[in-house]
Structures are given as structure tokens and as C-alpha cells.
Amino acid sequence: MVKKRGINGDYMKERLHPLPLSILIYMIQNGLVLYSLPRLVAEYFGTNGWLSIIFIFVLVNINITMIAVIYKLGKGRSIFEIIEATVPKWVMVPFYLFIIGVWIGMASMNMKAYIFIYKMMFFPTLPASLFIIFFIFLSFQLLRGGIYKMAKAIVVLCAILQPMIFLLFYLIPEFEFARYTTFFFKGETDFFKGTLHVYTAFLGFEVSILFFPMVEKKWTKALFIGNFLSTVVYFLVTFICFGFFSFDQILKDIFPVMTLFEYTEVAFLTRAENLCFSVLAFKILSIIAIYYWGAQQIFENMFKSIKPNFWIFIILASGFILALIPDSLVSVEEWLKWLSYCGIGIAWALPIFVLCILFIQILKNHKETDNAK
């Protein structure tokens, strides 16, 4: 007999398996930052800045551990159930709306930033709205399928995207260890700002706090694996960049990874950056879809009587309008910067808040059981 996954074998309520989940986590971690990541670490962490990725990785892992602990202590309850058992819903509404706003904003700004860079590189005269419609339309298709189908689709998108990383090996002939220098974290550095900036490269996993009712047991390892995959990619790319470019050259280049791919020349492919950047659209699409999905989940929880599809329309419409607002790459980056800071705030504050509530609940239970005795 074929073993059916899900709740009582119900296909519609199938639960997410850890493997696609880890790929999902990897795919929804911010993709666009990768293109400027080597410059960011060089700018803020100075010489041999690539090592900073390890520190940030540890920080992100602490963040993820909090989510894992919440899942364990909450015994599979969704965070809404946990929160609303102690705090009345109307108190939470402004916070919910803030999170929704930040997530929709992050999705739209990521989309717009990608479109701007894409236009700069390949289609300077093409209207941005056309691309936005395209992204919104595809996200609509993904959102309608629900998280399970989204995860499946994102795994396929990942399979298309991933081979690009092997192109890096063609750069090895230009690689020289002398360029790393023996100086560590020297130059004009600003570790705090740098940590914030580099942390945005790992953002995305925070949406996983909403996954609790949709996942199989022992899923939390997927979070760590997904994050580890991202780190490996970030680490590899920044490491190669520091041996491939000279230090000041990285500082001068806005998108060093673009230049990196530009230099690859394979027998069947020259200037691979066109292909790589176009395929990156899949990663951006995953990020957009998952943030919109997160917003939709919160909306659904707030007003349970309204159909989920209604929220999809509201979210996509507001996402579309938001994406139309900024009209230059600089303003998108400014938006993205502040939204990412808020995103980091949410990534830390929300789990801490839920943990606090859980502790209160556990303490209460203890007292009640003690009193009963």
C-alpha cells in the first residue's frame, strides 16, 4: 500500500517534508544581496571580510534555534494559537499589520530592485511595470496553490538555478592567494552596519515561524540545513571574489558577482552573467511568493471569516502599487534598507516575544498543577 503523507492521509492537508523544506528555506533567503555581498563584506569588514560570513551564520543559527525551540515548547501549535491564548487579538492587530506591511514591502522592493538591475544590464528601455505584472502574475499562481504546492514548485526552480554555481570553478586559473593579504578586518570598517547589511542576505527564514501547523514532525533540522546551504553559497562566492579581485577593485564594483560571471568563459557560454542573472529571477520569485504568503497567513488569522483568495488579491494589489512607487535604483535600495532593518527586527523580536509568552504559559501551567496538588 502506498503510504500517504499528511493528516490522516488527507492529500489536501499534506504536510511539508523536511527535504523540500530545506530547499525552500535556501531559496527564500535573500538572493539579490548575493550580487553585492563581496563588496558589502569588503566595505564593512575590511580585508578578508569573507570571514565575516561565518559570524553572521552563527547569529542566524541562534535566530533559527529560537524558532525551533518555540515549535518544541508549543507542541506544534501555530504561533497565533500560542499568542492569542494569552494576549487578546485586538492588541496584536497593529503588530500584525506592521509585519504584513514590512513583508509585502520587502517582497515588492526585492522585485523592483531586481527589475532595475535587469533593466540596467539588458533592457534599458523596457517599462518596469511589464516586469512587475509578470512577477505578480506568477506569484498569484504560486499563492493559489498553497504552501505545499509552492514548496514543490520552488524545488523545481532551485534545480534550474543551482547549476550556475559550478561556473565559479572556471575562474580558478585567475585565482591567487597573495590577493587575500595577511590582514584581517583592517581598513575602514563598521562592524555593526556590516552585520545588519550581511544579515539581510540571510533573511527569509523568519517566515518559517508560520509553518508549524503545515510541517511533519522533526522538521526544524530543515531550517538549519537550508540556512547552511545559503551560507555555503555565500561563503564560496565571497571567498572566490577575494582571491579573484584585488581588494580595492571589489570596493569599486557595485555588483562584483556580476563581474565574476561576466569573466567566465566556457566553450559553450561566454559572458554567463546574462544567463545567471536571468535565472536568478526564479529565486526572486520564490522570495516574493513566500513573503506574500506570510502576509496572507497573518491576514487569514486576523479575519477568519473571509475567504483566503480575497487576501491574495489585496496583497498582490498592494504589492503591485508599492512596487510602482520608487523610480530609481537608489530609492529602491533606500526602501529596501529600512524594510530589511524592520525585517531583522521582526526576525528577532517575534520569536523572542512568542518565547516569552510560552514561558508565561508554562509557568502558569506549573502553578495550576501545583495548586491542584
Partner: protein
């Protein structure tokens, strides 16, 4: 049904993206080569010459060159745009710099390329003795397209001799690095052909001195490891008083550099070369098949390489240019503060540079 509509809309969106801007190949002038020179006018100091292929209605292929003066490289492009009915777009180009302009400094021009995504990182760079414009305009019967000829020329050079492999990425990489200076090949158009004259050594972004072809060979050996190279040298034989020609082929050389920075006033960098190769040509009188004579001969080659390397290094130190990247090694053996405080330029010109060479002849060919 709904799925079909979805697919239809998706396909429509995809095709719509093609309506934004179209480039029809007949209406384009795809640049094959661009040359930058100093112009005579003070107001418009930069002279740009572009070369692009043309096809006549009869199907005859040819090339066309256009020149304009301007205040900046992009201003000249706009002026050139007004000289033709075609739309000018970048291609896989060779970019030439006139001698005079190279001596003034290239970074202003090169940096504008880094803004423009059309200019790839593999774009070839070279210096022209005299004017780059003249080289592009020169008509040579056997060469139908100067730009393509140059591109393949530089590519071939890069394969034979690593230091000649110069493109935008390498130039900028070495320019921005604080312990190495860039180099570019130097071409000349005087005479019947386009000729490679040697290697132009830079200090920062300024062309300082030209290394001859044999000096470039030595520089190649001193710069890094070689997997398959050739070396043509002529050794002066004291006994006969004649110059003997020697061609070493299939050279495999391992390059090791040692830095001693303990004494601040007397820093030493030692380049240790371990070279293996086979003899393809030898015009001297020695019997190379005999082991004793072969060892003696190896010694001669070693001495030749040491004395010529020293000459080259003295020349480089005299012109304060460091294409080998000795600065990188010194930097990596010092602390960050010491390196930044140190005036590397001054230290470099007084640096104690030593060369140690070990030559092994793998074989001496088929005949005695």
C-alpha cells in the same frame, strides 16, 4: 480551461518583453575596436576612433573607421553617432590606447567602461606606439580587418606568454591592487605589418617604460609558474666569441619567492626559479648529449637567466614599476600598519632583489 488561460497570459507577457527595444543587425555598427588618443586641440583633448565591419549591398564585407574629438570618451561617442546612419553598439572589442595618452594616464577612460555593462571584462587592452587611430586606419593588403587581427593576435600572445594576456579585468585588478602594477602589450604600425614591440610597464595608470620582447620573456618567468612555454635566448660563448642561439621548448617552471623583512633598511626578496625544458634549437659547439657538457650548458643558461633577470629588475626598479607583484609579497609579510606607513615606492627602488635559477634540460632532441 483556467490553466490554458494562465499559460497564454504568461507567454504573452514573455513576448511583450521583446517589444521594448529592438536591435536589427543591418542597422547596427557593432564596434570591433576603439582607439583612444590625445588630440591636438586643447578644448577637446580626447580623440576616439572606432572601427566596425560593414557589408555593402553587393555583399562585400569591409570595415569602416570614424574619428571624433571630445572632452570625454563618451562625448566622442555621441559625436561619432552623428557621423553615421547606423546605431553604434559595443561588441567583443579590442581597445587601443595611443602612446601619448597612455603616458598621461588611462584610468579616467577605463573607469567609464566599468559603468557601461556593454563593455565586457574580457575586452582586450593594448598600447600603440604612435597613434591608435593610425593603426586602425592602416590598410594592409593581407589583413582585411585590423581589429579582428589584433584581437586574435593578443589572444595568441596570451596563450604563449601569460603576461601578454591583458584585458579590462586584469588591468583594473592590478591597477587597484597596492602591490603590483599593470602591463599592456605594445604594438607598432610602422613598416609593412602590425608588429608586437614588447610589453608596456605601468606605474599606476601611467605607461612608463617599454620592455623588449626578450625582457618580456624573462618577466613572464619571474611573474609566475609556467606550464608550457618557450624561451628563445642567445648566449655569448666566451671561447668562440660568438653568440649562440638556443630555443627551449615545453618549459615547465616553478616560481617561488622568499621575502625577508626583518631588517627594515635592508629588505630582501629572492626569486627562485626551477625551470625544466627541452632543447629544440642550439647553434653552439657543445655536445649536449654528453652529460658533463650538458651540465655545463645548464650552468650557462642559468647564468644567462640570472644576469638578464637582474638587468630587468634593475630597470623596473629604476622606473618604479612593479609588474611582477613583489609589493604583494612584501605586503603580506608585514603588518597592516607597517605596510601603510611605509613609502613602498621608495622602498621598492632600493629593495635588494636576488634571483636564483635552476635549469634542467629534460631532453636535447632527437639528434646529437
Amino acid at each position: 480551461m483556467q490553466n490554458k488561460i494562465t499559460v497564454l497570459i504568461a507567454i504573452c507577457c514573455l513576448f511583450l518583453t521583446g517589444c521594448g527595444a529592438s536591435n536589427i543587425i543591418e542597422d547596427l555598427a557593432i564596434l570591433e575596436s576603439v582607439a583612444y588618443d590625445m588630440s591636438e586641440s586643447e578644448e577637446n583633448p580626447i580623440k576616439t576612433t572606432v572601427l566596425f565591419p560593414t557589408v555593402s549591398k553587393q555583399g562585400k564585407a569591409g570595415t569602416q573607421t570614424l574619428t571624433a574629438n571630445g572632452k570625454s570618451s563618451h562625448e566622442t561617442f555621441i559625436k561619432i553617432q552623428n557621423l553615421t546612419n547606423l546605431k553604434i553598439v559595443g561588441g567583443q572589442t579590442t581597445i587601443l590606447f595611443g602612446e601619448e595618452l597612455s603616458k598621461k594616464g588611462l584610468i579616467d577612460i577605463v573607469e567609464t567602461f566599468t559603468r557601461d555593462p556593454e563593455v565586457g571584462t574580457r575586452v582586450k587592452f593594448a598600447i600603440v606606439e604612435g597613434k591608435g587611430e593610425e593603426l586602425l586606419k592602416k590598410k594592409i593588403h593581407s589583413i582585411p580587418d585590423n581589429a579582428e587581427y589584433l584581437y586574435t593576435f593578443i589572444e595568441k600572445l596570451g596563450k604563449q606568454n601569460k603576461v601578454f594576456n591583458t584585458d579590462k579585468y586584469r588591468f583594473l585588478r592590478d591597477y587597484y591592487d597596492d602591490g603590483i602594477d599593470p602591463v599592456l602589450p605594445v604594438f607598432s604600425y610602422k613598416g609593412e605589418n602590425i608588429e608586437l614591440k614588447g610589453l608596456g610597464a605601468f606605474k599606476g595608470d601611467q605607461y612608463f617604460t617599454r620592455l623588449t620582447l626578450s625582457e618580456s620573456q624573462i618577466l613572464n618567468l619571474l611573474s609566475g609558474d609556467i606550464k608550457n612555454g618557450n624561451l628563445m635566448i642567445s648566449i655569448h660563448d666566451k671561447e668562440s666569441g660568438k653568440n649562440e642561439q638556443l630555443l627551449l621548448s615545453s618549459i615547465k617552471s616553478i616560481n617561488d619567492k622568499k621575502v625577508k623583512t626583518r631588517k627594515k633598511n635592508n629588505m630582501t626578496v629572492e626569486v627562485i626559479l626551477d625551470l625544466k625544458g627541452s632543447v629544440l634549437e642550439y647553434t653552439g659547439t657543445m655536445n649536449l648529449s654528453e652529460e658533463r657538457q650538458q651540465r655545463q650548458f645548464e650552468k650557462q643558461v642559468e647564468n644567462y637567466l640570472i644576469s638578464n633577470s637582474k638587468k630587468l629588475l634593475t630597470k623596473l626598479q629604476k622606473y618604479h614599476t612593479d609588474p611582477i607583484g613583489i609589493g604583494k609579497l612584501v605586503r603580506n609579510s608585514l603588518t597592516y600598519e607597517t605596510w601603510n606607513k611605509m613609502k613602498w615606492d621608495k622602498v621598492y627602488s632600493n629593495l635588494n632583489l636576488k634571483v636564483k635559477v635552476k635549469v634542467n634540460l629534460i631532453n636535447t632532441g632527437k639528434s646529437k
